[in-house]
Symmetry: C2
């Protein structure tokens, strides 16, 4: 199957090879060395400020989002949440669940965030800002530099969910002043799902150390302490951590974060060029590189997903909820090539010939 | 490396093959069918009563232990916790953290649970019992039938952490009356770590549905609801779930749970026979099949672990904390054979010749 979803995505050869090997025992100096290198490479690629730390959770990215809310925010905060889709809503639900006071900055599906919209909220009312940098449900990219400036001016704690944007869109944690960066193993890291990653600025580390967290599993202070010796508090998804290691080294070899971002950007641009004139409308006013959400002008989105899966051996990514019949998404992350785009476009053309698109 | 740890353990060919394949997209009828079969086989192998359910969490087994405490217990309970080692202590810490009232039934490391010890606690004071069926830190097996009778007589809610005992020691959830059974992907299931599994009796399902859980990630009611359609609330460790599927089918093909338990028991018996007369004392008064903790009469336990790793290509399992220098463990789970035992024993003999054991 050719996989154009936004996760799990297709893995490269190194990652697959490690997946087929026995998983080693991990309470060893050898595994600790791997984990310390994983941490260093994550800090390098997220361009984290001096003194930052990275932790690795065996959990979906939602687990990391919840851990960030529980460990970095409290009932004493007042958070502005940019809510432009299902993942923004998830932050809203998490803050509500954990009694973190918040205000929603709601955007329509696909709507871009402008400076005017942002500054119409008086930052002085808030202590922090939560954003899904790529609102993956609609492929809207938010401007982390603009948001960071707003946060800096008003000393807001700045949490960036970069689950699908990390290494897909430019991101400079130190420059934009983000305090928390969250991603997952199955996006641009192109490993199997199972690990989520959190990078914490020195200010975030400080918050973690002072947090009262009613969770053993998501106690990030414990994760940081164990991380000092290259370990985790509990048995992690060791195999996936070794795959992440291979992938981070591959990215480093190929030139680092900027080269990987350029590769994903080119993959997205190639696809968007190739579908020009086809019966789709674009959903996102501010397209992220990881994914192109499309509204098919004819045919139901979910039917097209099923058809491509069952008759063409191609997975695109269906949307859920309200958007099930109106929007599907085409991913540009993982081990995809421009030739793969050509194959997908040929399948679209075939569906058009059959009157299904 | 030859791996005698208690996890990650060595995987069989099917599991390795799947690990080397691309991870498929999972919001599909195909993956739902796999997950439904996973659930049915877990219910079958744990001998769960009619109306039970199984959920799959992308988390270490500690995550599943915490989810069980959060979703099935509350401040209205009073729990008796059998604490005979690090994993018993973990349940104590979890109950303390989540304000679940508890009493500890403390045992020395390696000490067996007797009927007298158990019945010296007046069950009428309690609403539930928590036990690590194999206290993996010391290899002590607790008698689930005896504990179950005590619970039944007094209507106690009965949570069994079977992380390392599931399919290693006989366990009949319906017969012993357990309400919750917890295990992990990296024990007898011999898959990579990353998934923990919880089987819930109808009474436990009822508790889950009435629980007020302050966690999105560990909300088991949400997991149960999604499980009805063979899905999970968040992107799970899809690859490991497919490996679990292959492994459950393999166990089924080979004759089911009892045959697998007999295989692990024979692997343990073979090892214990082969080390007779060697300078070790046994740590456990009530040995579980999954693991043999040994106290070396000469040499430090951790040094022996390092020596075997670095010079013989063999991993045994070191202990932590107080037991670091006095106890190591030899596992009998995963794709190990009697010949592998012979290799380990030969390495022990070599260390004896060198005066290191």
């Amino acid at each position: 199957m050719l996989n154009f979803t936004v996760g799990p995505v297709m893995a490269g050869d190194d990652v697959l090879r490690i997946g087929g090997e026995q998983v080693p025992y991990f309470r060893t100096p050898e595994f600790s060395a791997v984990m310390k290198e994983n941490e260093q490479l994550m800090l390098e690629f997220s361009k984290a400020p001096e003194g930052s730390r990275a932790v690795f959770l065996t959990a979906s990215s939602t687990g990391a989002m919840e851990a960030a809310v529980m460990n970095c925010l409290s009932e004493k905060d007042k958070i502005l949440i940019i809510n432009g889709g299902s993942f923004g809503q998830r932050f809203v639900d998490l803050c509500a669940l954990h009694d973190v006071p918040y205000t929603e900055l709601k955007l329509e599906h696909g709507q871009k965030m402008t400076r005017d919209r942002l500054y119409s909220y008086n930052a002085k009312d808030f202590t922090g800002l939560l954003v899904n940098v790529d609102e993956t449900s609609t492929g809207v990219l938010y401007d982390t530099e603009m948001l960071g400036e707003y946060c800096r001016q008003n000393n807001l704690f700045f949490i960036c969910d970069c689950v699908s944007s990390f290494l897909a869109d430019p991101f400079d944690m130190a420059h934009c002043g983000a305090d928390v960066m969250i991603t997952g193993s199955q996006k641009v890291l192109a490993c199997p799902p199972g690990i989520s990653l959190i990078v914490l600025s020195p200010r975030a580390v400080e918050r973690v150390h002072h947090a009262k967290v009613r969770s053993m599993y998501f106690d990030l202070a414990d994760a940081l302490k164990n991380g000092e010796r290259g370990q985790t508090p509990f048995t992690p998804a060791v195999g996936i951590l070794l795959q992440i290691h291979a992938r981070l080294l591959e990215i480093k070899r190929q030139g680092g974060a900027d080269v990987e971002v350029a590769r994903v950007a080119a993959q997205a641009a190639d696809f968007r060029k190739k579908i020009k004139g086809m019966p789709f409308s674009f959903v996102s006013e501010s397209p992220a590189n990881a994914v192109t959400p499309l509204h098919p002008l004819r045919g139901k989105a979910y039917d097209i997903f099923l058809k491509l899966k069952d008759e063409y051996g191609i997975w695109i990514c269906p949307n859920g909820g309200d958007m099930r019949d109106t929007v599907f998404r085409v991913g540009h992350i993982g081990a995809l090539t421009h030739e793969d785009n050509t194959k997908l476009v040929a399948a679209f053309e075939d569906l058009m010939l059959k009157g299904l698109l």
